[in-house]
């Protein structure tokens, strides 16, 4: 692959920080012209941020960029576009009630009069669609297009601008295998024509199939940078998931008891009718921790919201605390708590805490109507503070100051506080989403210990995490989700990172592959 | 020192309040003494203004406009030692002089002139707020028009039912235009600040208009046929000189109302028009013509 030309993209020592999160840390990235370069990494590893920096969407805190050997200051997307960079963003950048054509038109108008501009661009698009086989109904409002077609539209948008350097951030996440193959065909021809392509994906098979070289990121840093020829899916899965520390599992295995929660054939479709949770059935038994592994965006979040009553499915039924719920009358958070089901949501900033409340007010959210905290319509401030202090001590929340604004606690301490609150109610069923996202090691171990304690006290715990080693460290039973369905389920004893990595990446298990 | 409290619309409404203002100014020039005045910004302020004047020992205190009636009554009760005057309303208290005008008499005369000047035989009336006082204008106007030309058609419209109707030139203009469309070629506006819009419309459409309260002939020379002047200035001046408790009604005889003749409308007023008007004035003063006062029976013969 080594080409005489200078590298198309050369990023050096890129740093990017969001508030307290270090999204990119001293990242180097070199991509020879006319090659396809893959970037993989766990959720939050910093892939999109890095690409957004290259595209001028975010300004890096430090580091410099050279395009085709020329040092370049990319202050805005305009500069990037001028430098021949095009990007397909991870999250759709479309106006729903514009026609597909107008969406492509925006910012790339060949003429200041729309009718002419449309005509001119339509011609080019038709040619491009014919050539690439990426079909999009140009006159439909985007709102009426299925997700796959929107993704194709995004790709056309980038291509029609004639980008010499094309960034694709998880373009295949919502494409069918056939569509994906089509896309890859296009990308290959582009490569032949000399276009340089950066591809972000969670599907390792795609890397192997298409890329010349691959960079693996973790926690904002580059952990591996190699030619695809010299690596393998398993090696990548290893590097991606990594082993931060060995959060050793505790010795004694669980003795699952009666089923405390049983869900059958849950199906939830989004506004576009796409099933995000697809016929999922599962049971949680007393005294076990069930882990749900999977790349985020494969339906785990929605499943969690269904089970906690934040969302009602179109199909399926749920048994909890001797009651049965069906789409007509679904569970709601208040009832759930009454039935001793507690929920630590994924997004603690938006849901679990009221950031502007002092800790002692956030610490009763959801239980504020319980007699412990509310008598004759009035809040019992003293009781609330005492309870909060107790929670903070019990879960080692720092600083142990109930008066501090919830916002001011670090991510990990916020998480500990939420966990403490949900444990306070002594639930029988505990649903936990991303227990340790953005949390440092010390906090992680503490949190894991608490979850195990809850299990050993006879509770049923469901943990959803996009960090595999966490699932492996915690769960007694592992469920892997992919594309809204249950891709596999097995006791943790029979799990190894490679198998799970493959299941998550949507490849069958090794056996299946060999068979 | 005397004091005057103008009503909503302000002392520069080119009409009612402005007349009062001129009276006060004249008093100031002739006596060389100063006076206090205040323009209220909203209903809530009326009482505060009055009391404020009273507290500063102002005496007498003149309230301009019927809407000050209840306030004057309140304040006069609270300050029995001070003298008050109220214009256009009756407050029955020993220390209050209530000054009324026989607007119907003046309106009668301008009504005549309107009918005489009209070529289409249709004359219009635009009132401000729909209240008995304004109907009084309208009724006198209609009687005068009929007196001059029995076949004349009188179209009347009121601007509104709330005080806003006193200061809405745009509406006034629209009302006038509507009447012009129906063939009216002389319009009398008894509508305070709203009148300005009426006169403007008349000018734009090349019709004649009649002013009210102050002599407004100068506003649109060539368009203003005349003005039904209501000598509020005289009333204020006299009140400043000294308040005579009780009700006093000023008509043609007392020189309280009249038609304005000056260089601005000289060209518009023909000699025989003038002659007829002077005759009618004499007859009214002599009682040979009885002009019906709408407010007397809350009804108009026409």
């Amino acid at each position: 692959m080594a080409s005489p030309r200078p590298p198309a993209v050369a990023m050096r020592g890129i740093h990017k920080r969001f508030g307290a999160v270090q999204a990119n840390q001293d990242v180097d990235l070199t991509v020879p012209a006319g090659t396809v370069h893959g970037i993989v990494g766990e959720n939050g590893a910093g892939k999109s941020t890095l690409m957004s920096v290259l595209y001028g969407f975010y300004a890096a805190d430090a580091g410099d960029i050279a395009i085709d050997g020329q040092p370049l200051r990319i202050a805005s997307a305009r500069d990037a576009i001028a430098a021949g960079i095009g990007m397909v963003h991870q999250h759709f950048m479309l106006v729903d009630d514009f026609s597909a054509l107008d969406n492509v038109l925006l910012g790339a108008e060949p003429h200041w009069q729309l009718p002419r501009a449309r005509a001119a661009l339509r011609a080019r698009l038709d040619a491009l669609m014919a050539q690439t086989g990426l079909a999009v109904r140009l006159d439909r409002p985007v709102a009426q297009l299925p997700v796959g077609e929107r993704q194709r539209l995004e790709i056309l948008k980038a291509l029609v601008r004639g980008a010499r350097i094309l960034i694709l951030d998880e373009p295949t996440a919502v494409l069918t295998p056939q569509e994906t193959d089509q896309l890859f065909g296009v990308l290959r021809t582009l490569r032949v024509q000399g276009t340089t392509i950066l591809l972000i994906t969670h599907k390792l098979r795609e890397i192997m199939a298409l890329c010349d070289a691959v960079t693996v990121m973790r926690a904002g840093r580059v952990v591996l940078d190699t030619a695809v020829a010299d690596t393998s899916v398993d090696a990548l899965a290893q590097a991606m998931v990594g082993r931060r520390v060995n959060l050793g599992r505790d010795a004694h295995a669980a003795q699952p008891g009666a089923a405390l929660l049983r869900a059958e054939h849950l199906t939830w479709r989004d506004a576009l009718g796409v099933p995000r949770v697809d016929d999922v059935s599962l049971a949680l038994h007393a005294g076990e921790i069930v882990g749900i592994a999977g790349v985020s965006g494969n339906g785990q979040s929605e499943l969690l919201e269904l089970l906690s009553g934040l969302r009602a499915p179109q199909q399926g039924r749920l048994n909890l605390g001797g009651q049965t719920f069906e789409p007509g009358h679904w569970l709601d958070p208040r009832r759930a708590r009454a039935l001793k089901l507690a929920h630590v949501p994924e997004d603690r900033h938006a849901r679990a805490l009221v950031m502007d409340f002092p800790a002692w007010e956030s610490a009763v959210l959801g239980y504020h109507r319980w007699p412990a905290f509310c008598r004759r319509g009035f809040m019992r401030a003293a009781a609330m503070r005492d309870a909060t202090v107790a929670m903070m001590q019990g879960y080692d929340v720092r600083p142990p100051d109930p008066g501090l604004s919830s916002r001011k606690f670090s991510g990990g301490n916020q998480q500990k506080l939420v966990l403490a609150r949900e444990a306070w109610a002594q639930p029988q069923v505990l649903l936990v989403g991303q227990p340790t996202r953005g949390v440092d090691i010390g906090a992680i171990e503490a949190i894991h210990a608490r979850l195990r304690a809850l299990r050993d006290a006879g509770g049923a715990v469901l943990v959803v995490s996009s960090e595999l080693d966490e699932v492996l460290a915690l769960a007694d039973r592992v469920i892997v989700m992919n594309a809204g369905r249950i891709a596999g389920e097995r006791p943790v004893a029979l799990c190894d990172e490679t198998t799970l990595g493959r299941l998550m990446a949507g490849l069958g298990t090794t056996e299946a592959a060999h068979a | 020192t005397p004091a005057v409290v103008y009503d909503l619309g302000g002392k520069f409404d080119k009409s009612f309040n402005e007349a009062a203002y001129r009276g006060a100014e004249r008093w100031k020039q002739e006596t060389g003494k100063t006076y206090l005045d205040f323009e209220i910004a909203n209903a809530t302020q009326r009482e505060q203004a009055m009391r404020r004047m009273a507290d500063r020992g102002a005496n007498p205190i003149v309230g301009v406009g019927f809407s000050q009636g209840s306030t004057v009554a309140k304040t006069a009760k609270a300050y029995p030692k001070l003298q008050f005057a109220i214009i256009d309303d009756v407050v029955d208290l020993p220390n209050v002089q209530s000054i009324l005008f026989k607007e119907h008499e003046g309106s009668f005369l301008v009504g005549m002139m309107a009918a005489l000047a009209s070529k289409t035989g249709k004359v219009g009336f635009v009132g401000g707020m729909d209240i008995p006082l304004i109907r009084k204008f309208q009724c006198g106007y209609a009687q005068g028009a009929r007196h001059a030309n029995p076949k004349v058609e009188v179209l009347a419209a009121m601007t509104g039912t709330t005080p806003a109707a006193w200061g809405d030139p745009a509406r006034g203009g629209e009302l006038a235009k509507a009447q012009f469309a129906k063939g009216v070629d002389v319009v009398f506006a008894a509508a305070g600040g709203t009148g300005v819009g009426v006169y403007q419309a008349a000018k734009d459409a090349g019709k004649l208009a009649i002013g009210v309260d102050s002599n407004q002939n100068h506003l649109q020379p060539g368009t203003m046929l005349t003005s039904m002047v209501k000598r509020v200035d005289v009333a204020v001046f006299n009140a400043f000189q000294g308040v005579k408790p009780g009700v006093s009604a000023l008509g043609l005889k007392e020189g309280g109302v009249d038609v304005a003749m000056d260089e601005h409308n000289a060209k518009l007023v023909t000699p025989e028009m003038k002659a007829k008007v002077d005759a009618a004035r004499a007859d009214i003063i002599a009682g040979r013509i009885q002009v019906v006062d709408y407010m007397a029976k809350n009804a108009c013969p026409i």
Binding site: R351, F357, F378 | A43, S70, L133
Partner: protein
């Protein structure tokens, strides 16, 4: 949202509003100076007029009472995440409510029954007039800002129609209802003080003042001590967290608006029962919009609202006084200042924050801990 770089509480709650206020004052001062008046003289006159005499103080407190009601109204809505521009119309309706019961029963009922009845009626009417937009927002998603504006106009039209066609006293040319019987008149403070042997000049200041104090205390209790208040503030800060906590945002929105409207409605008591003793058209006179500025300056806290209301009461009273003293000066100066305050304390509220932070950093460098 700027996370780490937040100002210390006292700066945020005290210094910033003061700075914004000063900025507004400064700009207003420029205008005053520009039109050839001496800003300093105007300011001194303003202060004297507001606090220089006992009657001045009386008027100041009377205006403040009204602004406390509208200020609290806006503030309560804000805590529910709503921007209620409708206090003006809600106050009108409150006055209508108070007026109607007074016209119907003031001859029959004694004051101890009549006055509470009027207060309740005022609150009920105001609440109803605000609850409708609230409900439309909660269940139909129609933006409460727009609907409340519309309701202001509808309210004034409705009142005008009622006054002209139904309530207007026959014979009287002014558009005002007949005077209520004495039982419907909120006792003036000077009367009570007189009864206690204290001689106090007659001002419109009436017992509604106590109502305003009570309202502030109750609002404080409601917002920060009651379960309903807890739910309301949760909805206001984060609807998604409210859902998670089993709080239905819709209910919070409607109740917030209703309470807001009830508070605004109390303006009717201060003006109609307290001062005029009869129903008239334009007794709110912009107090509803002033409430927005009051709430912004008062940082939506009852205590702050009271402080800001006093400030505005002083501005209105002082402004009126200036109109007496300085020829060619009108109280519109105060309306302008009011607008500028909304500008600097509302839209540009954090104009000064970066500077303050820099000063702070210089004062004590790098201290933001890292967990």
């Amino acid at each position: 949202m700027h996370d780490g770089d937040a100002l210390p509480r006292w700066m945020d709650l005290l210094l910033l509003p003061l700075i914004n206020l000063t900025l507004a004052m400064a700009v207003a001062g420029l205008v005053v100076w520009g039109v050839g008046q001496d800003p300093w003289q105007v300011l001194t006159l303003l202060v004297q007029g507001a606090f220089g005499s006992r009657s001045g103080i009386g008027y100041t407190l009377y205006y403040a009472t009204t602004f406390v009601f509208t200020g609290l109204a806006v503030a309560v809505a804000v805590h529910g995440g709503l921007f209620n521009i409708g206090a003006e119309g809600q106050a009108l309706m409150g006055g209508l409510g108070a007026g109607l019961v007074a016209l119907w029963w003031s001859d029959a009922l004694p004051a101890p029954l009549m006055l509470p009845l009027m207060v309740l009626a005022a609150m009920a009417f105001g609440a109803a007039w605000a609850a409708v937009p609230g409900a439309l927002q909660a269940w139909r998603g129609s933006h409460v800002v727009i609907t409340t504006i519309m309701f202001n106009f509808i309210a004034s039209a409705l009142l005008a129609w009622l006054m002209v066609n139904v309530l207007k006293e026959p014979g009287n040319m002014t558009v005002e209802s007949r005077a209520f019987a004495d039982s419907a008149l909120m006792p003036g403070v000077h009367v009570l003080l007189g009864a206690l042997g204290v001689d106090w000049p007659a001002t419109p200041l009436n017992l509604s003042l106590l109502l305003a104090v009570a309202a502030a205390v109750l609002v404080w209790l409601y917002l920060w001590k009651s379960g309903a208040g807890y739910a309301l503030r949760t909805v206001g800060f984060s609807p998604s967290a409210a859902l998670y906590g089993g709080i239905a945002p819709a209910g919070g929105i409607v109740s917030a608006m209703a309470l807001s409207g009830a508070l605004a409605g109390l303006v009717g008591v201060n003006e109609i029962a307290g001062v005029h003793g009869r129903l008239l058209l334009d007794f709110v006179a912009g107090a509803g919009f002033a409430g927005i500025a009051v709430a912004l300056i008062g940082r939506n806290h009852p205590l702050g609202v009271w402080a800001a209301a006093l400030l505005f009461g002083a501005l209105y009273q002082g402004g009126a006084e200036i109109a007496f003293e300085v020829p060619g000066f009108s109280r519109d100066m105060v309306f302008m200042l009011q607008g500028l305050i909304v500008l600097f304390a509302g839209a540009l509220s954090h104009l000064a924050a970066p500077w303050l932070l820099r000063l702070l950093r210089m004062a004590r460098p790098r201290e933001v801990a890292h967990g």
